[in-house]
Symmetry: C2
Subunit: 354 residues, 2 copies
């Protein structure tokens, strides 16, 4: 709470109304799906519903003043806020409060002065502490062990859905508490779609198989991509894979805190451009991971902001050719002052499986 | 689009800005994670980003005027809206537009008159057509087959996570394109937590095992819960299970369109209250399912609204005793004028497994 207290003072706020569940989880440890928090320098008010009466006790304990609301959480918010002394100017999360609830602030909450804020808690979340880095590292290990088990099962004729199922089961067996995002298993020409879900397409010999997935350990995510070939790879597949691998390794070995998101993105992009494939790398290099699988900071062509120390970010260059296929290789790294530590050590060679 | 056109006219709107992805999916078939739609009686404008260039073509085709935006989707919205003739008063979705984007309407979108709306598309989604009911029925079949396979694997000593993994893999093998919500596998005293995730607790002989999960087929969800016992059930477990089963079957056989959500809820609640366990049934009886696993209508103590024909809803009474365990039995039903058709036919007997 000290860091949040300082952020509130810097923003001239007496308190902050927090409606983002990942931000609530960061500040309180609560992992449920229904809560509103009001945080001041001295007080932490926590409102949830009856379904979480037991869980909030275990997860939040006595770090907050907890109210269990039978109906609308907002009733509990107004009642509890009335008891807070010295609170007049209150921030709200402009990116996490829907218009309908914003209207509540102007009506039921009219006795307070409301200020739109963005990224107050998100900024605190960018720099991980050692416990958070340990959790993400564990989530990376779980993902790698699951991928290893799954790859032994891949063979031509299985559908992408069946392969996703094998991977997800292995993730559970290795202890993942959930899936940070919908597993991407994209084969053949579908590997050229940067956001393909698994489908009922059977994989064929000679296909690229792009696998993008993660694990969750203690509420923290890993996010990893490998692209393999089912059966024998062609020279062209080797060539494209090698370009992406080199781009990935250059970026991972050169990225560090203190550079802009834009300069980080260029570490991989410039190399891919030099190889004549700039147009085929249509997305940005990476993003922060933590409680959410997409969080600050961004590593993108348009990001002027400087990367902070101890941010954990993905490094995920890709090359996609519509109708042919695509390759992406994604690792998770912790940013240090002069270099980065790679958390995902699964082989980046072009594996031929099945 | 005719039904939406009528809804717009009734609300005195020339067009509606749609930012809810499930609503966009309902109107256009688009299944990606980034899009904004503006719908008038004559026009459907669709803005997404480059990652979905191929997918939007396949899913939306030429039913909409599609723009691919390299940066902010909002740039595309303003540019396309400028070309719409006769559009002055535009609704937006108050429950699905965050404050930050609401500010964009007031600034970059200042040439239009904006009106807050709620539930315009959600109301259309309540009444399913035969294709939608067929998809939900398929999703129910997939879930039942997966549950059957998984139950043959359950034995004391497996963790809840491992059991969740077995179930999720079976869902994939049966063709589920994803998981509509985080699988709940809650054993022993954890079965008393209505929203427990799977954890690394090993299940023990004599435990209740509560399994709440679903499948997705063609974008439509099923949602089913069964509670079994690992090994031999005690008389007390039988008694509580029997009360919940009777409440479930009474509600399923008596619920129909035309009754209020409140009266539907009472079908199960009154019976559980008569058995002296009213306090132990802490949540509402059910909710609509479709593109989302929680959608309109609601079957709850406070819902005065009348249930429409062809809504698909869950019937899920439960009894929970902290420290002992809980039982929930959940089915999916389609509401007809005088009765309901139950889509989930998996046995409601108290199964002893492992």
């Amino acid at each position: 709470m000290t860091a949040l207290g300082a952020a509130l003072r810097a923003a001239h706020l007496d308190a902050l109304l927090i409606t983002s569940l990942p931000n609530i989880r960061y500040l309180t440890g609560f992992s449920g799906s229904s809560a509103i928090v009001v945080a001041s320098d001295r007080d932490l008010l926590f409102v949830t519903d009856f379904r979480y009466a037991t869980q909030v006790h275990e997860e939040v304990g006595d770090m907050a003043r907890v109210a269990i609301e039978p109906q609308s959480l907002w009733n509990g918010v107004w009642r509890q806020m009335t008891d807070m002394t010295g609170v007049a100017v209150v921030g709200f999360e402009s990116a996490h409060l829907v218009h309908r609830d914003f209207e509540r602030l102007l009506n039921a909450g009219a006795r307070w002065q409301w200020r739109a804020t963005t990224d107050v808690v998100e900024t605190l979340r960018e720099q991980k502490d050692s416990g958070e880095i340990a959790s993400i590292t564990d989530a990376a290990r779980v993902a790698e062990r699951a991928l290893e088990r799954m790859l032994t099962e891949v063979r031509a004729g299985l559908t992408e859905l069946e392969i996703a199922g094998a991977l997800e089961r292995a993730l559970r067996d290795e202890g993942s508490s959930g899936f940070p995002f919908e597993t991407i298993v994209a084969s053949g020409e579908r590997s050229a779609l940067p956001h393909a879900r698994a489908a009922d397409r059977p994989v064929r010999a000679g296909d690229f198989l792009l696998i993008d997935f993660g694990a969750i350990v203690d509420g923290y995510c890993s996010d990893i991509t490998r692209t393999v070939v089912v059966g024998r790879a062609t020279q062209e597949q080797h060539d494209v894979h090698e370009i992406v691998r080199t781009a990935n390794e250059r970026a991972s070995s050169l990225v560090h805190a203190g550079m802009s998101g834009k300069d980080a993105d260029a570490l991989a992009r410039r190399y891919i451009e030099e190889r004549g494939l700039g147009e085929a790398f249509g997305h940005s290099l990476g993003h922060g991971i933590g409680i959410e699988v997409h969080e600050a900071p961004r590593l993108a062509r348009t990001t002027e902001a400087v990367l902070p120390e101890r941010a954990v970010v993905t490094i995920e260059p890709g090359v996609y050719r519509a109708g042919w296929g695509g390759v992406r290789i994604e690792d998770d790294v912790v940013l240090g002052r002069d270099s980065a530590t790679v958390l995902t050590n699964f082989s980046r060679e072009l594996l031929e499986v099945g």
